[in-house]
Amino acid sequence: MNMSEFLGYPRSVGKAGIRNTVLILPITRFANQVAWQISQLVTGVTVWQNPGELGRHQGDRERLRRVMIGLASNPNTYGIVICGVRADFGYPENKLNALLPILEATGKPIEIVMIENEGGVHQATARGVDMARELVFQASQVRTCPVPTSELTIGLKCGHSDATSGMAGNPVLGRAVDLLIGQGGTVIFSETTEVIGAEHILSDRATSSDVSKRFLEMVHHTEEQARAVGQDIRSINPIPSNIAAGITTLEEKSLGAVVKTGTTPLNGVVEYAGIPAGNGLWFMDGWMSSYSLPMSLAAAGAQLVIYQFGGQDLPEGAPMPAINTGVVSPLFFTTGNPNTAKNARHGVDYNASGVLLGTATLEQAGKELYERIVAVSSGDLVRGETLSFKDPLEIYFDGPVF
């Protein structure tokens, strides 16, 4: 298997996609119904639902704007059907005329349906269905071709951590990350609260003092937010169940999480849903929720999101911690826990537990995981993509609301 290329969908601007979807994008909450109905009548589309902009301060409206622009410009998006009320509706930064020049710069086909212009919700739905069908038809004419893996951006998430996370799941993921970055690819990690205790390790890996400073500012901002509600993150971690599981100090806990970032330098940091300006390893300020982070990483340009989970506490016949929350980007599950790999076998995309079973070294498992990443990038489905269900999504707003 060629590890330096995948079969991707070429785009006129930017990186190739690993999927080829038409995004139905309501730019105001008033257009959610239209967008949803279009998605129920047309195959080959992905719908996103707008959480609403009213009563949010400017910083949070800009977060919303970055999510919309990011999902629309993700390489997996072939084209976009923008659904709205009218061109000049809403706050300035999220009006159609503010978003459109940026979306047009992506080079992607764009259709626009406005409820007022069509004479109502149902008329707008009918028009939008025609538009979406046409874009899906056009999208089917794009042929995949060999693309260097340097065009891949993957996002990282870990969760349901247990004793296996730091010794198997995350170290294996870290090795796959090193392989991808060695090929010139891009990797984005996040979960600001979960680097606390290991921030010095990551800031030491920063390629410049500016990157280090911005990274630490993001971490400290999160700590300050916790203090503002009377909590000290450092005084409650590690929690008693971590200690019972053998985690002795906060550094140990956070190191177990950040080991998934591999060993390469930290090239840069981006704000929430910001798109990295280069390749290599990047940090994005973000919320760890599995209902939020995969979408946010997709908005930052990740064509694929890897979720490494321990999962020892999941119930028998485990439901997965998140289903299809990457919107336009597949959500790939890996675990280093042999029990979880068996219990959640209908949802696990790569089983890294061979490291604990003695059947694989970290290097072997890391290479296998990397090969699965390339295979999924070339069209193999992740398990979640065989389900039509999608969990609801939450944007990481800074708050408060007014």
């Binding site: 205790g197 604990l356 079973l357």
Partner: protein
């Protein structure tokens, strides 16, 4: 959990580490392999917990994942369980806890 892990192996994550992770629930006196070293356990040690495979003196760093996770607060002998009773967090990142 699994046959291989029932052979009671100690997993060393990086070459820099001075602790191994125990892969099954082990009893005092059991012998386990930690890399090339055979270690006789001086405590009962549960799955996922750490064991010393070499001596670690007071004030020396405990290295896991290739990084210090704390320092020894007591003399540590090969085969000792390494946990909150003989390790303290040491880095500035724990200042919040120390202020408590």
């Amino acid at each position: 959990m699994v046959k291989y892990m029932e052979k009671v192996r100690g997993l060393i994550l990086t070459e820099m580490d001075n602790v191994a992770i125990v892969l099954s629930n082990c009893k005092l006196g059991e012998k386990i392999e930690c890399g090339a070293v055979e270690v006789t356990l001086r405590n009962d040690i549960q799955f996922g917990h750490k064991v010393a495979f070499k001596e670690i003196h007071i004030g020396e760093p405990i290295i896991k994942y290739g990084h210090p996770i704390g320092v020894a607060s007591h003399e540590i002998t090969q085969g000792d369980h390494i946990h909150v009773h003989n390790v303290v967090g040491h880095s500035p990142s724990l200042r919040g806890q120390e202020e408590e």
